[in-house]
Amino acid sequence: MNCNKAHVLMSVAVDGELTLKEEQMFLLHLSECELCRLEYEEAKKTKMIIREKIVRFNAPPSLVNMIMQLSSVDSKKTENSLSL
């Protein structure tokens, strides 16, 4: 495996989606290539940063309420059981 191919697989490796065969070849290449090893560390970091730094919003309570009502008694549009 050359570095180009390894680079493409890196992204897949980070997600744990390599096939068994790919994984073997990939690890073999990493063991022989310092640059790709470093590159792989960076690739892992990029995924981590997205996971850590993207802020998740909560759905507005009014929306949650609406959905809950939708799946509780269909035509019952009465009281909002959760106070907003």
Partner: protein, 209 residues
């Protein structure tokens, strides 16, 4: 001797009998399986529409449809993936068809969101001083937004929502190979963007470790 509470009166007697038992079970299951993903769906909708009002509409439509077709949901499969797929279809149908201008981005609103967060959140999770930790939430968000949609979408589904390639391929209706290559190219672009931000802070991104 422990007192049993078997004498408690049935409080549900007043409940409307219009709903069959079967329907009731469906509702309970729907809440357990589907409604718990509402925050994820809302975030996905926000990313797609870039507008809170549209995002709410989209989520609502999605749940309406999901509830109606809940019987066709294959039990034991990933309900979240199923919901995302419905949401995406809804998005394409109602926003693309009605030329509702999906590209109309409410940047001010997004900024407001992020400013309110920045104040309340301090990130010192690790004493790591590498450049990733210097990045602000807003910068990461903007970097992600700067990507072409086809790349941004797969990164979002993979990294943020944690779907498998197979699930993503199904959602974006492309082969797994396409998902792979979009992730690869998208991440490459994303990293270049993030490094730009990092350079602003004087971090040397030619990592030596």
């Amino acid at each position: 001797m422990a007192k049993s509470e078997t004498n408690r009166p049935a409080t549900t007697s007043s409940k409307k009998e219009a709903v069959s038992r079967e329907e009731h079970m469906k509702q309970l299951e729907f809440q357990k399986e589907a409604v718990i993903h509402i925050n994820s769906l809302y975030n996905y909708a926000l990313h797609l529409t870039m507008n809170p009002d549209d995002a709410e509409d989209l989520v609502q439509e999605t749940y309406l449809k999901a509830y109606r077709f809940f019987n066709s949901f294959e039990r034991g499969t990933n309900c979240k993936a199923w919901l995302f797929k419905i949401l995406k279809n809804n998005y394409i149908n109602s926003f693309r068809k009605n030329s509702k201008e999906p590209g109309k981005v409410d940047y001010d609103l997004i900024k407001d969101f992020y400013h309110s967060i920045k104040d309340t959140r301090t990130d010192t999770s690790e004493a790591d001083t590498d450049y990733f930790h210097s990045l602000l939430h807003e910068e990461v968000y903007l970097a992600l937004q700067s990507l072409p949609e086809e790349f941004r979408e797969v990164i979002q589904l993979c990294d943020i929502e944690g779907f498998t390639y197979e699930e993503i391929a199904n959602m974006v209706e492309s082969p797994i190979g396409t998902v792979r290559s979009r992730l690869y190219r998208g991440r490459k672009l994303l990293r270049a963007q993030l490094e730009n931000y990092a350079k602003k802070y004087g971090f040397n991104t030619d990592s030596e470790k």
